[in-house]
Amino acid sequence: MIDFLQLTIYGIVLGSIISLGAVGLSLIYGILRFPHFAHGDLFTLGAYMAFVVVVFFNVPVLVALPFGVALTALVAVAIDQTVYRRLRKVKPVILLIASVGIALILRSVIQLVWGSGNRVYEAGIQMPHLWMGLRIQNDHLIIVGGTILLVIALHLFLQKTKVGKAMRAMSDNSDLAQVTGIDVNRIIIWTWIIGGGLAAVAGIFLAMDTRLHPVMGWRLLLPVFAAAILGGIGRPYGAIAGGIIIGLVQEYSTPFLSPAYKPAIAFALMILVLIVRPTGIFVGRKV
């Protein structure tokens, strides 16, 4: 029982990280109509951007986090406006290919600058709190608490602000958004700021939980896609739930299967959903 609860804690931590990525991916998918394959590498970029601030100014990672987020959002917007924007008129699948190229470029730039070894924000081992026989680390509380705060903030943004509502409108029907007079490019820029920023937070959290590595984000891309599909593409709230489910299932699988195969579990779950209910497990959007 205790083991199960411990795995639940790990699953919620991992699920939080996956959710943050999946929610951005789902927003981008809904508005730009292509699966953004460089999303995992935006995680990595965010983690390394924060790493630079940590090393350069010798500050704790949480202080560096906003800078990592801002820089990653900026890079995401720059990539969109220089590359993706030029390809919007053609078929979405060309954007998909371009995003694979961007993924490899981002990863390789990180490798070029920081090498392919592992790095950490803070050396040393964190002593976990012991609570009713469960081990909980400070970082775990930060990751889960931070995710909850961000999800609430995102919810308020999407429901209450003009830009947030316009993002939902574009996700519903981008042609209608255009004839309504919505400034489509401005909304797309906002989408990248939010998607890129959330990806950076996810990457920083992932690096706090594990360590920095040039393919850390790419390795998480499959679970993130699985979460977005589970939640129903283009549905940010579904993506959050999908992320938590994927995180939990991946951790629950570890007593039965080598932990190396965690992504395979996410994949299996995704395939299952695709077979049984391709619109996602929640009330799916009509496609």
């Binding site: 030029r86 190229g101 490899l104 695709l274």
Partner: protein
């Protein structure tokens, strides 16, 4: 001098293997519009399948059945096709993007298996002593014979694909790609056609993987770095001209030359950066892909150029009649 020729022949063998991959992707993407980002996985399935079946008895991994190479090649194709069939059955009647996502899933799982299942694959140490064809006949100089064999295989695949492209089957694939509702309305089962194209492509990718294994005699997860192989093949097809079989081969040649060229270029880097040269090469190729997509998405030889030629030929034949 002889060394240089040997190097050139060996290089051409590699180009040929990439050419096969590029042709295979052309059936899936160029002709049918199916996005496969797990090329590396099918390549690896082929390589390891043939490796396990044909290598001499060993304790390093399962098998070592010492079977003849043609059996290995055939099995590589069958297994790759079977796995392609499974993936296709699940995803091909869904939105196109789902296939792309499912294929990274396959690539990721194959990568994990290669690394973690030492009993099956030799793990990170890889799989050695895979037999080379014609070694006895040629007394060690097997590359010549290998290249001839490769050219014959590519020739057969190329001619088959060209025939397919201009056949009714190829026309339906194009219709399926361009405007599905019409193809569906004319009573064609689009999903079945897509599945056929996907499976044929996967089989050829498996064949290419097996040939690679027999060329190098050694394979390891590093050699099958799935993303790199996949990405290079994509750049090759797009540079050459997707939808055009000659373009697929030309793209393989040109991009492989550029890819090798970058290796020479990064050779001049100072020693402390040399370990990171690989990353720089990928960046260069990545930028090339993006520039191609933005400026010349139809590639060097466009699909249209081939269709125009076909039309001219048919007009000539009309005149003869």
């Amino acid at each position: 001098m002889l060394g240089l020729i040997d190097y050139a022949i060996f290089s051409l063998c590699i180009v040929g293997i990439y050419g096969l991959l590029s042709l295979a992707l052309n059936i899936q993407w160029g002709m049918t519009g199916l996005f496969n980002i797990g090329i590396g996985a099918f390549f690896a399935i082929g390589g390891y399948t043939s490796g396990i079946l044909t290598s001499p008895e060993t304790t390093a991994h399962v098998g070592g059945f010492g079977m003849p190479i043609p059996v290995g090649l055939l099995a590589a194709m069958v297994l790759s096709a079977a796995i392609g069939l499974l993936v296709g059955l699940v995803t091909l009647n869904l939105r196109a993007d789902y296939l792309a996502i499912a294929t990274i899933g396959i690539a990721e799982i194959i990568r994990l298996i290669l690394q973690n299942e030492g009993w099956l694959t030799g793990g990170v140490r890889g799989m050695a002593n895979i037999p080379r064809p014609f070694e006895q006949i040629t007394g060690g100089q097997f590359e010549w014979a290998f290249l001839v064999m490769l050219i014959v295989i590519i020739g057969v695949v190329f001619l088959a694909l060209e025939a397919a492209r201009t056949s009714a089957w190829g026309r339906v694939l194009r219709a399926v790609r361009e405007n599905e509702p019409t193809a569906l309305a004319s009573g064609k089962d689009a999903t079945r056609f897509r599945l056929e194209a996907f499976v044929v492509g996967c089989a050829i990718m498996g064949l290419a993987g097996a040939l690679y294994a027999h060329l190098f005699s050694f394979i390891s997860p590093e050699a099958f770095e799935p993303m790199l192989a996949t990405f290079l093949v994509w750049v090759m097809l797009i540079a050459g001209g997707s939808g055009n079989n000659k373009g697929a081969l030309l793209g393989a040649l040109v991009i492989w030359a550029i890819w090798s060229g970058t290796q020479i270029l990064t050779g001049y880097l100072p020693a402390e950066l040399a370990t990171r040269a690989g990353a720089l090469r990928i960046i260069l190729i990545g930028v090339l892909l993006i520039v191609l997509l933005v400026t010349r998405p139809e590639g060097m030889l466009s699909e249209e150029s081939d269709r125009r030629r076909d039309r001219r030929r048919e007009e000539r034949e009309d005149l003869k009649d």
